[in-house]
């Protein structure tokens, strides 16, 4: 009995950390290139909605993932135009993008599906369980390779650390930032697709439930290091798994109110910020 609970908990930890890991991975690129990114939430939502509706209409999940990434990258362009081209503050633009997506999705789903926000569920037979894990492994490998082994990665990091150095060798830091944010949106969109096609079988309103912000917290917490950030997001995934397990447990859910159990991931983030010494090592020109 106890064994099976632990195995369930571990399995569900991996399941719940998938979208977080995608979002952390995406956020890493944007933050490292010196663009503060709080619209991870928006990219997750866009990805989730696009993946759910494209897989519903086409019947193939892979197409859904691809569409989610591309659509999120398109929304990333809005972010880029306003922060990089028009020089608005990234936090303000990020907040506005979050609002835009929260308002846009219900209206789109009303005119497409005639529903109040959720999409019809996709055919469960098509759900292919190894797909998201494969995509995650490919993404993480690619992310490590890109950021540590390529010239592009070095230049991307310098856009966040010292723009002047980049300009002096004739590379426009804005172009590197633009590419990094687009990549960030694409990867985070994939995470959204995991959310709506793997963790559940349809899109429901605001289903990202703050995961974008949790991913950002994981990144800040890990001192902007990708390896540590992925481990931290595994921990936050554990908190979410714990929350789900506790809620389904009769004995515990009758004693502790559901609202407190739902608080666990957010409270864990706050407690982690309070009790653990965060590595404070932000990119020098992060703004």
């Amino acid at each position: 009995m106890i064994d099976s609970i632990f195995i369930l908990l571990i399995l569900s930890t991996f399941r719940m950390s998938l979208p977080l890991m995608f979002a952390t991975c995406g956020g890493y690129f944007s933050e490292k290139s010196g663009v503060a990114q709080i619209s991870l939430e928006a990219f997750l939502l866009v990805g989730a909605f696009t993946a759910a509706s494209v897989s519903f209409f086409s019947g193939t999940l892979l197409l859904g993932y691809l569409a989610a990434g591309v659509m999120a990258a398109l929304f990333g362009q809005i972010f880029c135009i306003f922060t990089l081209k028009l020089k608005a503050h990234s936090i303000i633009v990020g907040t506005a993008l979050n609002l835009l997506v929260m308002g846009l999705i219900p209206i789109v789903s009303k005119s497409v599906f005639d529903s109040t926000g959720s999409t019809p569920s996709i055919n469960a037979d098509n759900v292919y369980y190894a797909l998201p894990v494969t995509i995650l492994i490919v993404t993480i490998t690619a992310a490590f390779w890109l950021s540590n082994r390529t010239i592009w990665g070095l230049q991307m990091k310098f856009a966040g650390e010292k723009r002047l150095a980049l300009e002096s060798i004739g590379v426009n830091p804005i172009i590197r930032q633009w590419q990094a944010v687009t990549l960030c949106a694409f990867i985070t969109g994939l995470g959204g697709a995991v959310l709506s096609t793997y963790l559940s079988s349809n899109y429901s309103p605001l289903m990202s439930a703050g995961r974008g912000f949790i991913a950002l917290a994981a990144l800040i917490f890990a001192g902007w290091s990708l390896r540590r950030a992925l481990l931290v997001s595994l921990f936050f995934g554990f908190c979410e798994a714990l929350q789900i397990q506790l809620q389904s447990n009769q004995l515990i859910s009758s004693r502790i109110p559901a609202e407190f159990i739902q608080m666990i991931p957010y409270a864990a983030t706050l407690l982690a910020l309070i009790f653990l010494r965060a590595k404070n090592n932000p990119p020098a020109e992060l703004r």
């Binding site: 028009l86 936090i91 907040t95």
Partner: protein, 346 residues
């Protein structure tokens, strides 16, 4: 010309939002008409607009005050909900003897808002935590707490909806205040005057006192401010604390002035609307009055779109805010650009 930038940004934003309506098979002119006129249909509607204005002034201040110190305070939403629950609870349990208990209720609610905001300041001071992340997490935690408290401790037995008891009749003194009577029992109350007073007082405090100067100095250059021995502790306490009090006043406006109870989901994201209000006013405390009124009429219009059109829901209000924030935030770029060019030509 530079001062007009936000207004032109606003106009462009409204135009863009109406064009967006084309995608959803709506007539943009009809949308524009609903947006612009629905606040003035009747006295009752206008009162509702003034009520939104009150809330938006306070939430705009809650974003704007920390902004002066260079802090992004997006935790107003959680503080609003938390303080509204506290106000509803106190209004239910406090013994009513004199007008003193009304004062006590207001002070305790403001204190609740202050404390909720102060958590952000403490974490930033002692743990160097990023204020945005802490604020967002607090938003989730505080609203979950409010939901639990409402359903399990204060649920109104006469209602199917998740809402609290009405506060005691003697606390409902604003039911017959002159603004409410004039606007045919609409949502507006004397808190509207309090809001305007707050803006004026804060404007004077900011311009004429040492604290205001220190906060502005800290906002424009924290390193220099530290050299001048302006303590981080003081600046964060004052700016975030005042922001928390402003958020609490939104809760009080709702509970003491409008519904006399706490309803889950009463706030149409006032905390985030406040960002648009503060941006539109270019962080000027007096400008917030005007920009809050503008945003309130747009919000009133957008929530009427639900009834007036087929495909647009009240979520259109969120889109409208987002587009306005985008266009206002980027309008500065165009005007700075133009200004520089002119200088070169001369």
């Amino acid at each position: 010309m530079k001062k007009a930038a936000p207004i032109i940004g606003l106009i462009v934003g409204i135009a863009l939002a109406c064009l967006l309506a084309l995608f959803f098979r709506e007539n943009p002119l009809h949308v524009l008409k609903v947006l612009l006129t629905s606040s003035y249909n009747s006295k009752f509607d206008f009162g509702l607009t003034l009520f939104y204005t009150t809330c938006l002034i306070f939430s705009g201040l809650a974003f704007s005050i920390p902004m002066k110190a260079g802090l992004f305070h997006i935790g107003a939403e959680g503080q609003i909900i938390f303080s509204a629950v506290v106000a509803a609870y106190l209004g239910h349990v406090l013994p009513f003897d004199t007008s003193f208990s009304i004062l006590l209720l207001c002070v305790l609610t403001a204190l609740a808002g202050f404390l909720a905001a102060y958590v952000i300041a403490l974490l930033k001071l002692y743990r160097q935590a990023h204020e945005v992340v802490v604020a967002i997490m607090l938003n989730f935690i505080l609203s979950a707490f409010a939901t639990w408290f409402t359903i399990n401790r204060l649920q109104n037995p006469n209602s199917q909806n998740p809402e609290t008891h009405l506060i005691q009749p003697s606390f409902q003194f604003l039911n017959n205040d002159f603004l409410k009577v004039y606007f045919e029992q609409s949502a507006v109350s004397s808190f509207f005057l309090v809001a305007i007073l707050f803006c004026i007082v804060l404007f004077i405090l900011e311009q004429k006192t040492l604290w205001g100067l220190q906060i502005r100095a800290y906002g424009s250059n924290p390193l220099a401010a530290r050299r001048l021995q302006i303590s981080d502790f003081k600046i964060l306490t004052i700016s975030l604390g005042l922001a928390g009090v402003c958020s609490a006043l939104v809760g009080l406006t709702e509970v003491l002035g409008n519904t006399f109870q706490f309803k889950i989901g009463f706030s149409p994201q006032y905390g985030f609307l406040g960002i648009a209000v503060a941006l539109l006013a270019r962080n000027n405390f007096l400008g917030i009055i005007a920009s809050a009124f503008l945003m309130a009429s747009l919000h009133k219009g957008a929530s009427d779109l639900d009834l007036e059109t087929k495909f647009l829901t009240r979520d259109f209000s969120l889109i409208l805010q987002a587009i306005i924030i985008f266009s206002v935030a980027s309008s500065y770029y165009f005007f700075n650009y133009r200004f520089k060019k002119k200088v070169k030509l001369d």
